[in-house]
């Protein structure tokens, strides 16, 4: 049996390191595209201020990128070190997009990033722009393949369990690529990255304006960020709504948990704006509901139902019982009784094998589970509702606030009166953390909402770990906490330092600090 401590610590470690990694990813995704925009303007107009913008924001990009690379390797390693059974069970499917990501995207991004920083004097203008474009393309393609892998964890299409090899095997690569969950996630995530990059440039430029220094530089940066940011936040919101629709289609449990939808309502279901979810009593106290909205988001219709948690648990209990049969047949097949009747019977219930494996937490043998154990396993299929309910609403609130900031910035930028709106400049500055809060809570919803599965309805998280001792986990967790804390302090120190110095850090002699010194 797997120790619960090891499972909990492995989950904690993965959650911490993944969320930490995602502090750096969205800024890389967004800034790389902003750099492309700025440098394109430079190449088209020949105005050197746009080159300075590319170089200065590129410097901040580099500080962020270094930690993105550092923390990304951790995630690749961790599947093998901490989730060995996961790696064995789904590596055939999940490993492929990761390897292709390396070949197609990560090589591109990492090879050209060096030329981005060091190639200014060695490449022609157009060559350098090409390098910047390829770097941005590399980061975005990288996100595509990673999200194809992640999308498969949420909605495992194009693969089937093979009892001979005791693992999931790919049978349709196109289905893996065109997985609707992956597609929607990709556009939602990269657009969120563009928002992050935009608000970062917007907020820091606003600070220069408030300090009334390097105004031509700040104004142009602000304008580009406002335009790109507005387009991006609109995409995030529209595509986020599209994710809601896909959830209603393939991840009904997650949707019900996010919405604290305990009972199946007659269609169209209302949307719970606020309330206090109570998992024990299976109800939401003082709920404020808006009629029809959830039904519209999740089903795009007024006649389809959105299933409630109680009904889902009952359905899952049925599947767990069928999964017990599947497990029993699998044992027969593994012990060598491979007659056609057994194989046929197994393929009948194979899709419920994952539900059977949920019982492993309570009984090693699965087939001898008691009614009580089955009931507990069925209850496990619903993630904890309150954290999902709240983090989802936090994400949406941040998104709406950012929509306001970008819309106002864009409007006053177009009217050329933004510098006389200190309230907006201050708001933009202090709003810099918002996209990170939104992105982290969004990922929390996506991954915590996937529980108890590491691969949706296929492999329970509980079974996915490595056979490690808790001592191993305390060692690695301590290492990560120490390293990551120190690295974050160093990173923030450099980021603040160079953001404060501003374009003067380029030592061109054209900017604020150099001129006041003269």
């Amino acid at each position: 049996m797997v120790s619960e401590t090891v499972v909990e610590l492995s989950r904690l470690q993965f959650a911490l390191t993944a969320m930490y990694h995602f502090l750096f990813v969205p800024l890389t995704l967004g800034l790389s595209f902003l750099l492309v925009i700025m440098e394109s303007v430079y190449v088209m107009t020949g105005k050197v201020i746009y080159q300075d913008m590319t170089r200065f924001w590129g410097k901040l990009f580099g500080i962020n990128f270094a930690l993105g690379v550092t923390t990304g390797i951790t995630l690749e390693f961790q599947f093998g070190t901490n989730w060995a059974y996961y790696s064995h069970y789904v590596g055939d499917v999940f490993g492929a997009p990761l390897a292709i990501e390396g070949l197609m995207a990560f090589f591109l991004e990492s090879t050209f990033i060096g030329l981005f920083f060091f190639g200014w004097d060695r490449l022609s203008k157009r060559q350098h722009l090409l390098v910047t474009i390829l770097t941005a393309l590399g980061s975005n393609l990288s996100a595509l393949w990673i999200l194809i892998a992640n999308g498969w964890m949420q909605n495992p299409v194009g693969a089937e369990f093979n009892f001979e090899t005791m693992r999931m095997e790919m049978n349709d690569f196109a289905a893996l690529l065109l997985n609707p969950v992956a597609q929607v996630k990709f556009v939602h995530t990269v657009a969120a990255g563009y928002v992050t990059g935009s608000l970062f440039v917007l907020g820091i430029s606003a600070w220069y304006m408030l300090k009334r220094r390097d105004l031509p530089f700040a104004r142009r940066s602000f304008a580009i960020a406002a335009g790109f940011g507005l387009a991006s936040i609109l995409s995030v919101i529209v595509l986020g709504d599209e994710s809601g629709y896909k959830l209603g289609d393939v991840q009904k449990t997650k949707l019900a948990a996010i919405e604290a939808e305990w009972d199946t309502h007659p269609a169209p279901a209302p949307f719970t704006l606020f309330g206090i979810p109570d998992q024990a009593a299976q109800t939401t106290h003082s709920a404020l509901k808006i009629p029809w909205v959830l039904g519209l988001i999740a089903t795009r219709s007024v006649s389809e139902e959105v299933k409630g948690i109680k009904e889902l648990v009952a359905e899952h209990e049925v599947r767990i019982r069928s999964g017990m049969l599947a497990y029993g047949l699998l044992q027969k097949l593994r012990s060598g009784q491979k007659n056609e009747a057994t194989i046929a019977a197994f393929s009948q219930v194979r899709k419920d094998l994952g539900y059977g494996l949920l019982l492993k937490r309570y009984t090693a043998n699965v087939v001898d589970a008691t009614d009580e154990q089955i009931r507990r396993a069925a209850a496990d299929t619903i993630p904890r509702v309150a954290p999902l309910f709240w983090s989802f609403r936090l994400m949406v609130a941040c998104g709406l606030l950012m929509l306001f900031i970008f819309a106002a910035s864009f409007y006053y930028c177009a009217k050329r009166t933004v510098e006389s709106k200190p309230w907006l400049l201050k708001l933009a500055l202090f709003a810099i953390p918002l996209p990170w809060i939104a992105a982290e809570s969004g990922w929390f919803v996506a991954e915590y909402g996937r529980q108890p599965w590491s691969i949706g309805e296929v492999l329970p998280t509980y079974l996915s770990t490595s056979s490690l001792g808790s001592g191993n986990l305390y060692f690695s967790l301590a290492g990560f906490i120490i390293f990551y804390t120190l690295l974050l302090i160093v990173e923030l120190y450099l980021m603040f330092r160079f953001a404060r110095i501003g374009p003067s850090s380029l030592h061109t002699g054209r900017y604020h600090h150099e001129q006041s010194e003269n």
């Binding site: 270094a66 499917v93 492929a96 920083f117």
Partner: protein, 380 residues
């Protein structure tokens, strides 16, 4: 072209070898250079010379390592699971050491404080030397056999400890990999760094080449005389669905040399290991670093292939339950996955090689103390 399953399994063994060789040839020289950083650079500017010879390239180089990891995950999931979880502490030490690289390169010269810079110099040293050493230790342990087994669900269970990995033979293998990466890094510095780093690097390359030849020869003798090798006695058809528990395995002294008797051409691998290192020592002496870079790469490829050929078809033998050993025939992914990955590699590896060459060509030229002074704010 449709490849049959047996051929695909073999091709993926070769492709993983290609990725590992690509990793030591490219990332190897920047790791070697970093391992030498505190010793060959006496002043801050000399250290910046060393760092900036690899500055534009280390990141792309490192992707060879990451992609090799990803390819092992996709092509040999069972190996990825058993090796990464079994070598848990060692893997994390490699990971923690690698942490120092991206931040070390990018952050070191952003602040002029000498303590800050010296600190990162040692960080970069760790990021180069520790992985270089531990990769060899890992290969040494594969040759010795790893204490692990599978349960009835094919979950890999490791029964050894971290300190159990530090056996004398494994440490010798660590010395082989450390000296070969240092040789390679020193050749690179002779090729790209200005004086006086260049002259110092030349002397180091000769010494490291010598240590490589001696340690590699000792490891070979040890393997032949003292170490139990593994041999497949019977197994299902080579194109069968992979099941590690379906074969039978014999453990025997000297079994790791069996392949060289059966396939004498495999002797080319150790031979190029030795001759490449010898040629490198000569070429750096007569000041031909560009040629020496090729012979050094040849030597490292020879060393890696020697480990691969000796164990073939084993990838990860189990010392406690030999039947749980993983071979390229029974640890591979499905035929479809191997096929898709094969085409991805066939398409992308040449493209990667093409644009990587272009970046090297663009940044070519000696990195000197004068150049660092002239580009103080743009350089690492």
């Amino acid at each position: 072209m449709i490849l049959d399953y047996e051929t695909l399994k073999l091709v993926w063994w070769l492709l993983i070898g290609v990725l590992l060789i690509g990793f030591v040839i490219s990332d190897g020289f920047d790791m070697g250079a970093c391992a030498l950083l505190p010793f060959l650079g006496k002043t801050d500017e000399e250290r910046r010379v060393i760092i900036n010879t690899v500055g534009p390239h280390w990141d792309g180089n490192q992707v060879w390592f990451i992609t090799a990891g990803g390819a092992i995950f996709a092509a040999w999931p069972a190996v990825y699971a058993a090796a990464f979880s079994g070598f848990y502490t060692a893997m994390l030490l490699v990971l923690f050491a690698l942490f120092f690289r991206p931040v070390g390169f990018d952050y070191r010269s952003k602040i002029a404080d000498p303590r800050w810079r010296r600190g990162w110099d040692w960080g970069l040293f760790i990021g180069g030397a520790v992985p270089a050493l531990l990769f060899g230790v890992a290969f040494g342990n594969l040759l010795l056999g790893v204490p692990f087994q599978h349960d009835e669900l094919l979950r890999p269970i490791y029964t050894g400890s971290f300190f159990g990995l530090l056996r004398p033979f494994a440490l010798l293998a660590g010395l082989v990999s450390l000296s070969m990466l240092i040789m390679h890094g020193a050749v690179w510095l002779q090729l790209r760094a200005g004086p006086p780093v260049r002259e110092r690097a030349r002397r180091v390359a000769v010494i490291a080449g010598g240590i490589l030849i001696i340690s590699f020869a000792l490891a070979g003798l040890w393997l032949a005389l003292e170490i139990d090798g593994y041999r497949v006695v019977s197994q299902p058809a080579l194109d069968a669905l992979p099941n590690p528990l379906a074969k039978s395995v014999q453990v025997a002294r000297g079994a790791w040399l069996g392949n060289y008797t059966a396939y004498p051409w495999m002797m080319l691998a150790p031979l190029s290991g030795f001759l490449g290192a010898g040629a490198t020592m000569l070429l750096v002496r007569v000041n031909r670093p560009a040629l020496a870079f090729f012979t050094s790469a040849l030597s490292m490829s020879g060393v890696i292939l020697t480990a691969g050929f000796s164990m073939f078809p084993f990838i990860m033998p189990s010392s406690t339950v030999p039947v749980s050993s993983l071979t390229l025939w029974d640890a591979s992914s499905s035929q479809l996955t191997l096929t898709i990955m094969f085409w991805a590699a066939v398409i992308f590896v040449p493209i990667i090689l093409a644009y990587t060459s272009w970046t090297y060509k663009s940044m070519w030229g000696p990195v000197t103390v004068e150049r660092i002074r002239a580009t103080d704010h743009e350089s690492y």
